[in-house]
């Protein structure tokens, strides 16, 4: 479990993280979203003690990370794939990391096998592709078999097979009861992987809710209906906050009314229904709507995402 209270980080006059409170629960994948510069990486760095909070606290498993007797056993972290000396081989890198905790060759070989690095383990990291660097970073995060995993953009630079592998791995880790905090800019990937979402914007939390709730709350739930008498249906379900939009294909999109009420009303009136579909929109839509409210950031965010 990761627990932050009033967590704040200022660099001079710029506030990167602005007094945020959140809890990352075990047994599920928590997605960490936000435009570049929203404070995700800074927050992750504060969790593992690389940056010192200006105010507030953050704990892992109930205590500050720095006071852990076996940090790698508690938290595995991938902050940037390049947190490796490029002149060292992948094997020696992992061996040196593990040595601090008395974790030996067997476990190093195990994580090399798990991340599919066998063929390059003896090569110096200098020549690694971005994808191999990511795999090495993930191997390092798994080294101590930790109960908490913090992965910043783990699928960055991976091929589709690698992306699916990370998804399966991350889901599996959560299924084993581990705490997983994951950031990514790939919304479709996040929608498939995460259970819970924390959305940051300009250092503040915009949303902290299950993925489904974030999507439906932000986009609103709409229902697509096809019938032979749209005017009559509209009259049947009319009420406060109900809107009906006629679509070009003859169907209609209704919002502010549940599919149950539409179905029941139509059935009672003997009106035939040809289609009744709940449309919840995508996480990407929800994300863009949420972060677009951060007006100052809109242009920057759009630029950086496009990069």
């Amino acid at each position: 479990m990761i627990h932050a209270r009033g967590l704040t980080k200022r660099y001079g006059t710029r506030t990167a993280v602005d007094g945020i409170d959140f809890t990352v629960e075990p047994g599920r994948v928590t997605g960490f979203l936000g435009p570049n510069g929203a404070g995700k990486s800074t927050t992750m760095r504060m969790i593992v003690g690389l940056d010192r909070p200006t105010a507030g606290t953050v704990t892992v498993g109930g205590h500050p990370y720095r006071s852990s007797a076996a940090p790698l056993r508690e938290v595995g972290v991938l902050l940037d794939a390049k947190a490796v000396h490029s002149g060292r081989t992948a094997y020696k890198h992992l061996l040196a990391m593990g040595a601090t905790h008395g974790i030996g060759k067997e476990r190093v070989r195990e994580v090399i096998g798990m991340t599919g690095l066998e063929s390059v383990a003896g090569k110096r990291v200098k020549g690694f592709s971005l994808g191999m660097g990511q795999r090495l970073g993930i191997a390092a995060a798994l080294l101590g078999d930790p109960g908490i995993l913090i992965l910043d953009e783990p699928v960055n630079g991976l091929d589709p097979e690698g992306v699916r592998w990370v998804r399966t791995l991350v889901r599996g880790l959560a299924a084993e009861g581990r705490t997983v905090l994951l950031s990514s800019h790939l919304m479709s990937e996040m929608a498939q992987t995460a259970d819970q979402l924390i959305v940051l914007g300009r250092g503040r939390i915009l949303e902290d809710a299950p993925v489904g709730d974030v999507i439906s709350r932000t986009n609103g739930t709409t229902v697509r209906v096809r019938t032979n008498d749209l005017g009559r249906l509209a009259a049947l379900v009319a009420g406060d906050g109900v809107t009906v939009n006629r679509e070009a294909d003859g169907s209609a999109t209704l919002s502010g009314v549940t599919p149950e009420r539409i179905g029941d009303s139509a059935a009672a009136a003997g009106l035939p229904i040809y289609e009744l579909t709940v449309v919840s929109g995508s996480l990407e839509d929800a994300y863009l709507t949420l972060t677009a409210d951060e007006v100052e950031y809109r242009s920057t965010a759009a630029e950086e995402i496009a990069r």
Partner: protein, 289 residues
């Protein structure tokens, strides 16, 4: 949506990991980690090989041409030492670069993030790096000096001025020179930790060990007190460590600016190194990684 995807548990069973139940941080383990790090870089092997090659090479070269410089009448510990320790002059530059790189290489590559997440209290990393660097550079320095002595011995013997290791003061001076090299690397590690950059670190350390001894004689022309300070420079104190105690007539005062006694030279170099490490410790603890 997550609920719609099927979640397969990965085939690799993470829970049966090969990790000993007592896996946690201890200082000997951090030492071992730093040893693996230092010895798994090609730059370390190159640097150490350079210390040996230049050290032994320069001594052999000097011994081969020593008659042109004028030989002592008989065996002289001072003369032999000046030949054997010649390579320290060059070796200290390599030791300094190695010391700076031991930490600046972590900052430039991002490795420091991995290092400090593994050891979040940070100071044990600095301590372990110091111990490992000191041990490795001192041992290689000692091997170089003994190699220089052994290599030049036949040439000295041919002139009838050979000096054995057991000659009073000789081995201690050789040891002093080796320890000086080791401390130079640790001093440089401290500076590198404060500055976090290879270029800045190397420039600063070379400024201290090479620049100050060049600059001070000039400064002494303007400020008289500089003469008294000169023996306490890092390099001057290091030269004292690698020398035999001066034979002063009983009751005589050493003249101003005379080299320090070997033991005092050692203390002075230790103080320089200690100050460097203290600044490094403060920087490492206080600043964000």
């Amino acid at each position: 949506m997550s609920a719609a995807t099927t979640h397969r548990v990965p085939t690799h069973a993470l829970t049966t990991a090969h990790i000993a139940p007592d896996a946690r941080l201890t200082f000997p383990r951090i030492l071992r980690s730093e040893w693996i790090k230092l010895t798994s870089l090609r730059s370390t092997a190159w640097s150490l090989a350079m210390i040996v090659l230049t050290g032994v090479g320069l001594s052999l070269l000097l011994a081969a041409t020593m008659d042109s410089a004028g030989l002592p009448d008989g065996p002289s510990v001072g003369f032999a030492l000046s030949t054997v320790t010649l390579g320290v002059m060059f070796g200290q530059i390599i030791a300094a670069v190695l010391g700076v790189l031991a930490i600046s290489g972590e900052y430039s590559t991002g490795m420091i993030h991995s290092t400090l997440t593994a050891v979040p209290t940070r100071l044990p990393v600095l301590a372990a790096k110091s111990v490992v660097l000191f041990a490795l550079v001192t041992l290689v320095g000692l091997a170089t000096l003994l190699g220089s002595w052994a290599g030049t011995y036949p040439m000295f013997a041919a002139e009838g001025i050979a000096v054995g290791l057991t000659e009073p003061g000789f081995l201690l001076a050789v040891l002093g020179a080796a320890v000086y090299l080791g401390l130079t690397a640790v001093f440089a590690l401290g500076i590198g930790t404060v500055l976090r950059s290879a270029a800045g670190g190397v420039a600063t350390v070379l400024g201290v060990i090479l620049g100050l001894p060049l600059f001070l004689p000039l400064a002494a022309l303007a400020f008289d007190w500089v003469v008294d300070v000169a023996p306490y420079l890092f390099t001057s104190a290091g030269e004292s460590m690698a020398s035999i105690p001066a034979d002063l007539p009983a009751g005589a005062e050493a003249e101003r600016g005379a080299p320090l006694a070997p033991w005092l030279g050692g203390v002075v170099v230790l103080v320089w190194t200690g100050v460097s490490l203290a600044l490094a410790g403060l920087s490492l603890r206080r600043r964000d990684a």
